[in-house]
């Protein structure tokens, strides 16, 4: 938990291997991610770590369905029918055929959340994932993420401006 500008997004990017401009070391198991090559990162992101970016990062010209399928096919943890089910659950079931760029920011945020849950992972990184969602939708999304993490016995690293009541954290860090 930290206020704006204190480095939450930077930390998420360091952990996901997108930036290397930090001191110290980040280890996954025995391996230092500084030693990872391009292919190592690709494998790592496919099998072990998933993320919801603050700036979402969707393909704007593709439909919601296509955006989700692009991630799912990389290493399918769920069958494709699960996409529809998750979308219905988060209230964007009718948006699967719409292009991502015409969806509202809140809808896009839910797409990014579902996308992060379609692969296997040991860690799920969340960078202000509810910034554009009302409490009701945030709670639904949190429930889904907790279920999915439990299914994989995975850890969630959640970065936000303030404490979220419905996120049952085990450790809380202040930056």
């Amino acid at each position: 938990m930290a206020p704006s500008g204190s480095g939450k997004t930077s930390l998420v990017h360091f952990l996901y291997g997108m930036r290397q401009d930090y001191n110290g070391s980040i280890l996954y198991g025995e391996k230092n991610i500084r030693q990872f090559g391009a292919e190592d990162f690709a494998l790592h992101r496919k099998d072990h770590i998933s993320v919801v970016f603050q700036d979402l990062r969707l393909f704007p010209e593709q439909t919601v369905g296509e955006n989700l399928e692009i991630k799912r096919q990389l290493n399918p943890f769920h069958p494709s029918e699960k996409i529809k089910e998750m979308a219905e659950r988060l209230g964007i079931g009718n948006k699967l055929q719409s292009r991502a760029k015409i969806c509202s920011y809140g809808e896009q945020q839910r797409v990014a959340i579902i996308r992060s849950l379609l692969q296997p992972f040991d860690f799920l990184l969340l960078d202000e994932p509810f910034s554009h969602l009302d409490t009701n939708n945030s709670q639904k999304a949190m429930e889904l993420m907790l279920e999915e993490a439990k299914q994989r016995e995975a850890c969630i690293i959640f970065a936000d401006l303030e404490r979220i009541d419905y996120f049952p954290y085990t450790k809380l860090f202040h930056l």
Partner: protein
């Protein structure tokens, strides 16, 4: 489940410039066509010229003389034994032998049957250099008859002017039956021999007598050794060898047979065709460069999408492989079209220009097929490496 490229294909080839793509394809096609046609023509020339020359034991025999010009006129332009040694030392010359001339006066007449008499010249050459040497072509001292090998061309010439001189035309068979009286006259005496044509030579334009006869006659009648000669016969693997021709030009030796004319035209033709081949290579290089610019443009335009795919966990190797794969059918199509057009060119050349000569084939040479395969492989590899390099740079 295998990863499908189909899903992500629309993300990558967005808004590409069709014109620049077609320019690169056409450029590549022209380059390939030029290169393959040049290679095929190069092989055609090689096949036409190696099979055309008259050979004995797989070698060419040509006679050379020194070029007589206004500058060296009046000097001794005969080959010395040093010249002969130098000739023999050249790697492309297997052997050399002088054509020894007569140093005394020779008069020929054919008696009653052909009322004709003329001063002539006779020469002697090592038997190994003569194309037709019958066993009767020998002479021993005091033998009154003399075997002669006559140039086929001389017989032809005789038959051309014979009617106008009211002389009978002769077939080769009849000519061998004519007894020719050879009157040899030198400073130290004169002798008359009965000469008979024992064979005709296509290779040597001369009237040849056995070597030992001429040595004996030069010494006995003129008192001189036959050491120098104006003409030398050389034996070479290939009269059209460019090194040989270069050497002859350098030494200012003249080849008095038109055998090397093939070689000279071959030199020029091969030069032009090699130039065309190099030009083809340059066009291919240019086309590949154009293609690489086009690829860079494609990748630059899909930069955001590619970067997001990499962020999501797509492998750069897989992406580059699949992106590069999109162009494989294009490369294969372009090279195969070039090959097909080369085949059409070869067939038309063989059929319409060469009138189905047996030395050539209507089909392209295997080397052209091999070159096409190499071109396909090369373009695929260069393309893959380029895409991979550009993608890894993005990571």
């Amino acid at each position: 489940m295998a990863l499908s490229y189909k899903t992500i294909k629309p993300l990558l080839l967005t808004g590409t410039n069709a014109a620049s793509r077609w320019f690169s394809y056409i450029g590549l096609g022209i380059g390939v066509l030029l290169l393959l046609c040049s290679l095929q023509m190069f092989i055609n020339i090689q096949q036409l010229l190696t099979r055309n020359s008259i050979r004995k034991n797989g070698s060419d025999y040509i006679s050379i003389a020194k070029n007589i010009t206004n500058e060296n006129m009046g000097k001794d332009n005969r080959f010395s034994s040093a010249d002969l040694k130098e000739l023999k030392a050249q790697p492309f010359i297997e052997d050399a032998a002088p054509l020894i001339p007569n140093l005394f006066r020779v008069q020929a007449s054919a008696g009653q049957m052909i009322n004709f008499s003329s001063d002539i010249f006779i020469e002697a050459l090592n038997n190994n250099f003569i194309d037709t040497v019958p066993p009767t072509f020998t002479w021993v001292e005091n033998q009154p008859t003399l075997p002669v090998i006559f140039s086929s061309e001389f017989l032809e010439m005789y038959n051309v002017f014979a009617p106008s001189w009211e002389l009978p035309q002769l077939s080769p068979a009849t000519a061998t039956n004519v007894a020719i009286s050879l009157h040899c006259e030198g400073k130290f005496g004169e002798r008359t021999f009965i000469a008979r044509i024992v064979a005709f030579s296509d290779r040597v334009n001369s009237i040849l007598v056995p070597e030992n006869f001429l040595e004996w006659a030069n010494k006995t009648l003129e008192g001189q050794d036959s050491t120098k000669s104006s003409r030398v016969f050389i034996k070479t693997k290939d009269a059209n060898n460019s090194d040989l021709l270069k050497f002859l030009d350098q030494k200012n030796y003249r080849v008095n047979k038109d055998k090397t004319m093939f070689g000279r035209s071959k030199q020029i033709l091969q030069g032009i065709i090699s130039g065309l081949g190099v030009f083809g290579l340059l066009v291919i290089l240019l086309a590949l460069m154009l293609f690489s610019f086009y690829l860079q443009l494609v990748i630059a335009r899909s930069r955001d999408n590619l970067q997001l795919l990499l962020t999501l966990g797509y492998s750069p190797a897989w992406l580059s492989q699949n992106m590069a794969k999109q162009f494989v059918p294009v490369y294969i199509f372009v090279v195969l079209t070039g090959l097909a057009l080369t085949q059409v060119m070869q067939w038309s050349f063989h059929h319409f220009v060469m009138y189905d000569r047996p030395e050539l084939s209507s089909f392209v040479h295997w080397a052209v097929l091999a070159a096409s395969a190499v071109l396909i492989i090369l373009s695929i590899i260069t393309n893959y490496r380029l895409v991979k390099k550009l993608l890894y740079r993005m990571f």
